[in-house]
Amino acid sequence: MISGSYQMTGCDLTLVSIPERKSLLLKGTATHGIGLPMTEHRKLVALQDAAGCHSPQLFKGVAGDLIARKIPSFLRLDRMASSVAPLALCASAVAIRENSKAFGRVSMAVAVNVSRFESVTMAPPDPILGVSEAFKADTSDAKLNLGVGAYRTEELQPYVLNVVRKAENLMLERGENKEYLPIEGLAAFNKVTADLLFGANNTVIQEGKVATVQSLSGTGSLRLAAAFIQRYFLDAKVLISSPTWGNHKNIFNDARVPWSEYRYYDPRTVGLDFDGMLADIKAAPDGSFVLLHGCAHNPTGIDPTPEQWNKLADIIQDKNHIPFFDVAYQGFASGSLDTDAYSVRLFVERGLELLVAQSYSKNLGLYAERIGAINVVCSSSDAAARVKSQLKRLARPMYSNPPVHGARIVANVVGDATLFNEWKQEMELMAGRIKNVRQRLFDYLSQKDKSGKDWSFILKQIGMFSFTGLNKAQSEHMTNKWHVYMTKDGRISLAGLSLSKCEYLADAIIDSFHNVG
């Protein structure tokens, strides 16, 4: 029995956090003790939060001894839960003497510097960017980067189009200001973009039935459209091709729009599974959104024929589906801007309302400027005005208004007859280089592969990419043995291939295809 009252009037507490972030160290020194001999044990015990509640779920600790006045004792506490930071800690000290206890308590608000984002884990690396990084790290002379979806010259250098340089010089000379664009973007840009997609003489343009909003390239256009779908078509689903560009799924997931897949790629033929595609689109609930690649399907390079496009339009019309085109390669597929717009214009002619997400990243080489547009073709100009206003409303809390630089470049190139013609020529050159490379690759493959395998799919595919038909193990073999960098789904970017490397690549493909499981 302790006679007299025990007071512990002072206890210095210091918080020392341990680098692993999993533990805290409490250093306690009893500074005052009244009526208690020095030999008594004083213990520094558990913690309570500011409200006086024990928080065993937050910290678990073993009581340490406060041996003597002014000699600090340490209490180590291991954090168990990480979701909420402890608020203020009260250290309690208990004096024990001959098995009886007197209890003194000292509170100290020790705000713990624990991050709220403790539980944030590392995001997985990007499946495409990771390829380029691995490529950079490779020291082999033979290495080849066929992962990148960015055009390269025959010398495998990035390419800034001449028309773009000219446009930028014009802009520099004019010294235009950098004021905010309106939320819907640069009017001149929106006009030329809609004209480019649909044809300036198209009825829907003449009658003001197209809502066009400048956005952050293809991704930004898709995201705005997805947000619009989520808000106005709460129960609708988007049908996407299997396979498709990886980011499509991320976009619809983040926008909380449900999606399902329709068959597209047939590995047996390395071609289009058209019957499967039609069947899946037919089986979907009426009024679904059907995401279609306008031309140069990514990642397969396999496009429907004009006849197949017509059949698709029939089915989509019957099912009252809404076509949603992703046009990232207009001009890049065939070399002709008009030819590549065939599918979109066909559906417009049928009188269908539809969406088109469009990008200038590849065809004007404006990748990093983030320039594109979302276009919604409506049945009336009134509907188009209303739709446009709602798209703006979705854009405002995302980024307020779009970046001006790329828009001005496009407006200057596409809106000027001379520059536009020059652009068409450069476009043909770029697409032409890809076609040549396809041909050369096919020639080597046919010539060198004695198995009789039909490699003609390489010629039938179109655009920047080719689906080689190589599986994951074979694709990895391409990298590990041949230093050819590509994505694991067997996709190669022909934009990163030069004529001089075609033979090497053919050897690598033949070896991987035949000698690996």
Partner: protein
């Protein structure tokens, strides 16, 4: 191209898919400029949107920016930036906000990504907050920039408000502010304007910031700073970052949205930075990776042009020093216009008090208490681009309809749009509509 099928099938499009899409209300801020542009009157004045104008009412491209653009022209290429944007530009941005020699930068404790100006930074943070702390809310000051509400709403983070502006004294309602901070559940998220509060122009004093920071420590709240006007408020970027530095000294793990729209005049380039101070480098890497995951399905990677301009200016000592001079010129012109507007209104004999318009930066809390004899009082001074006039929406409408003066209906005047050429006209018009108040 008629096919052998009933056109009635295609006639589905006659009753449009978009029939339930209503016209969206005009944006309260950007809609003002639209209306202004449409007005043919030669007397029209635009004091709506917060974009700087010179004394001739013209937009300004800073010399340092022009020089940076000359260096960029004929440049390399336009390859995609990484998802998180330009790392070099980010580092320069962090130095501005956190301090040139900040230990946090050295220790790599800051997760930061290039963002689409201030809006994009706030939105990324709001989405991040929703994803990792789905039960959290955001406390937003009253009033605030209108788009703040849109941003956190579209990110689906529930909002609460806290007292900020004291209309009667045209100053900060400090007592109510502190009360709200105290009453919020521990660990709440608060949106704070680092300097030059938009729309009121009223900032806490240094002493008040210290008290706020201390209370935040006790309550363990999360401070998120929206800093859209660094350099623009006082003319000195270091001084404008004072609030943030106070919080950092006190050990807070802050979040910060920065914008170069105003202070570098890069409005349409959409360049800014979102940063979150973490416990250590490992956590910062994880947080950055997650911010990138949010950016990727929104726009993949940010635009390059503006970030190049920022990088060139901030990393070249001569250009940076030119920039600092030009920012001071802009800030000084605004301060001058504030004085002019106030003098004009007082000369006209306005019944209202317009003292709040001018920036009395040396006006301390103590002096204010002394003057007003009120322990609870607010610092009466305004700073930055905006002036909260206290006019009602009806009075604002009169200004627009009768005088062709365009501003947002909350009575916010963008001082950047005031010139020696229009200040008298503006003062007269304001006096006209308020004199019978």
């Amino acid at each position: 191209m008629w096919r052998g099928r009933s056109w009635a099938v295609g006639a589905r499009s006659m009753s449009s898919w978009w029939s339930n899409v209503e016209p969206a209300p005009k944006d309260p801020i950007l809609g003002v400029t639209e209306a202004y542009l449409a007005d043919p009157s030669p007397d029209k004045v635009n004091v709506g949107v917060g974009a700087y104008r010179d004394d001739n009412g013209k937009p300004v491209v800073l010399e340092c920016v022009r020089e940076a653009e000359r260096r960029i022209a004929g440049n390399l290429n336009m390859e995609y930036l990484p998802m998180g944007g330009s790392n070099k530009m980010i580092e320069e941005s962090l130095k501005l906000a956190y301090g040139e020699d900040s230990e946090f930068i050295k220790d790599r404790r800051i997760a930061a990504v290039q963002s689409l100006s201030g809006t994009g930074a706030c939105r990324l943070f709001a989405d991040f907050q929703k994803r990792f702390l789905p039960d959290s809310q955001i406390y937003i000051p009253v009033p605030t920039w209108a788009n703040h509400h849109n941003i956190w709403r579209d990110a689906r983070v529930p909002q609460q408000t806290f007292h900020y502006y004291h209309p009667e004294s045209r100053g900060l309602d400090f007592a109510a502010l502190m009360e709200d901070i105290k009453n919020a559940p521990n660990g709440s998220f608060f949106l704070l304007h680092a300097c030059a509060h938009n729309p009121t122009g009223v900032d806490p004093s240094e002493e008040q910031w210290r008290e706020i920071s201390h209370l935040f420590r006790v309550k363990n709240h999360f401070p998120f700073f929206d800093m859209a006007y660094q350099g623009f408020a006082s003319g000195d970027p270091e001084r404008d970052a004072k609030a943030i530095r106070i919080f950092l000294e006190d050990g807070h793990l802050i979040g910060c949205a920065q914008s170069y729209a105003k202070n570098m005049g890069l409005y349409g380039q959409r360049v800014g930075c979102l940063s979150i101070l973490c416990e250590d480098e490992m956590q910062a890497v994880a947080v950055k990776s997650q911010l990138q995951q949010i950016a990727r399905p929104m726009y993949s990677n940010p635009p390059v042009h503006g970030s190049l301009i920022v990088l060139i200016i901030l990393s070249d000592p001569d250009l940076k020093s030119l920039w600092l001079k030009e920012v001071k010129v802009m800030a000084d012109r605004i301060i001058g216009m504030r004085k002019a507007l106030r003098e004009n209104l007082e000369k006209l004999g306005s019944p209202l008090s317009w003292e709040h318009i001018t920036n009395q930066s040396s006006y301390s809390l103590e002096k204010c208490k002394e003057d007003c004899g009120d322990g609870n009082v607010n610092v009466i001074s305004e700073i930055g681009m905006f002036c909260y006039s206290g006019m009602t929406p009806e009075q604002v409408d009169r200004l627009t309809n009768e005088f062709h003066i365009y501003m947002t209906r909350n009575g916010r005047i963008s001082m950047a749009g005031v010139t020696t050429g229009n200040v008298t006209y503006l003062a007269n018009a304001i006096h006209e509509v308020t004199k019978s108040t």
